[in-house]
């Protein structure tokens, strides 16, 4: 091996060594771009046992039911969400995921959560339905329900569904996200729903 070849080996070893030793110091001064990570949020419902089973489906008057609504933040930063709960009947529009539009129905309940990046937060959601009042042979109106201990007046009509033998309601949980630039809460195009059948006494 010639001296010039030894020199080349030393220069290469020197450059690699300097880069490796200087890297921790460089990292604390220069912000290196992180590998591209998809930013998204989660919204999910768990049953009473905090598992994905045992969801309430058939409703009895005044019986208290509960589910857990979970929100997960994978946006790369802390996020401030609003979970908006809406009660829909069979003719109300669900949120439109394609157009990113929420359901036009007014919320019956809302709660706000702040979630740290890469964490989830589960909140207990209890509800019980009040009495149905028949308005005709085929329709009835739900006067109110109790949500997390608070009485909510809804006066929500529903048509009798002969296949279900009752009246169908849909509890929709929508996820909204706070936008600090506009200082407003915006629909985040995530929703989950719980279809509930209120059996009719005539069924």
């Amino acid at each position: 091996m010639k001296l010039s070849e030894y020199k080349t080996v030393f220069i290469i070893v020197g450059i690699i060594g300097v880069v490796l030793i200087a890297l921790p110091g460089l990292e604390s001064v220069v912000q290196f771009p992180s590998a591209g990570q998809e930013a998204f949020s989660e919204l999910y419902l768990l049953g009473p046992g905090r598992t994905a089973e045992g969801y309430p489906s058939t409703i009895a008057t005044s019986q208290v039911y509960w589910v857990y609504a979970g929100v997960g933040d994978h946006l790369g930063q802390m996020a401030y969400y609003t979970v908006s709960v809406k009660l829909l009947n069979a003719t109300d529009s669900l949120p439109n995921a394609t157009l990113s539009v929420p359901s036009p129905v007014a919320p019956i309940y809302e709660y706000k959560v702040v979630v740290v990046d890469n964490q989830t937060l589960e909140s207990l959601f209890t509800f019980s339905f009040g009495n149905l009042t028949s308005t005709s042979n085929q329709t009835a109106v739900l006067g109110g329900l109790t949500v997390n201990g608070a009485q909510v007046t809804v006066n929500k009509p529903a048509a009798f569904d002969s296949t279900l033998g009752g009246y169908q309601y849909d509890l929709v949980f929508e996820l909204w996200l706070y936008n600090s630039t506009t200082n407003s809460i915006q629909y985040h195009n995530r929703f989950v729903d719980l279809i509930l059948n209120y059996p009719s006494s005539k069924a």
Partner: protein, 155 residues
């Protein structure tokens, strides 16, 4: 007729005033909550441990949700009370978040400085050692070349 209508007009005016006051208080609470969220978010970005502050924020968020729901129900007294509770809760969050942010920034700055210093010293030591090794290798190489030179033999 006018005399009979006066009390109800005054009553309606009072309801409107209460509604305006509740709406304004609700807006103040929402702004206070957003400011507290921004302060905690900034503290976290600076590297602070904000677990406790996030719990406090979520507690204030419950009050704000309650204020929102009360307003939607037309319960203006309930709105004002819940909004006041939100503002009170967020008032203690903002200074705590700012302190945590300052501490995190200071310790982050110190850590960065010591990391840079260690890197500079490390590079200097590495280059010195490498230079000494290079000199030794070079001298050894030269010696081996000189030792291997052909000898002139008289004959």
């Amino acid at each position: 007729m006018a005399l009979a209508a006066s009390p109800s007009v005054a009553g309606i005016g009072s309801v409107f005033a209460q509604s305006d006051s509740a709406k304004s208080q609700l807006q103040n609470a929402a702004n206070a909550f957003a400011q507290a969220f921004a302060a905690v978010s900034d503290a976290q970005k600076a590297g602070a441990n904000v677990t406790s502050l996030v719990n406090q924020l979520n507690s204030a968020g419950s009050s704000l949700s309650q204020a929102d729901m009360s307003y939607a129900r037309g319960d203006f007294n309930g709105t004002i009370a819940a909004a006041a509770a939100t503002i009170l809760a967020t008032q203690s969050i903002v200074p705590q978040a700012q302190n945590l942010k300052s501490s995190a920034q200071a310790s982050g700055h110190d850590a960065a400085l010591s990391s840079v210093a260690f890197s500079i010293i490390g590079v200097a030591v590495f280059l010195t050692v490498l230079f000494l090794v290079w000199r030794y290798v070079k001298n050894s190489y030269m010696r081996s070349i000189l030792d291997a030179r052909p000898e002139v033999v008289e004959g």
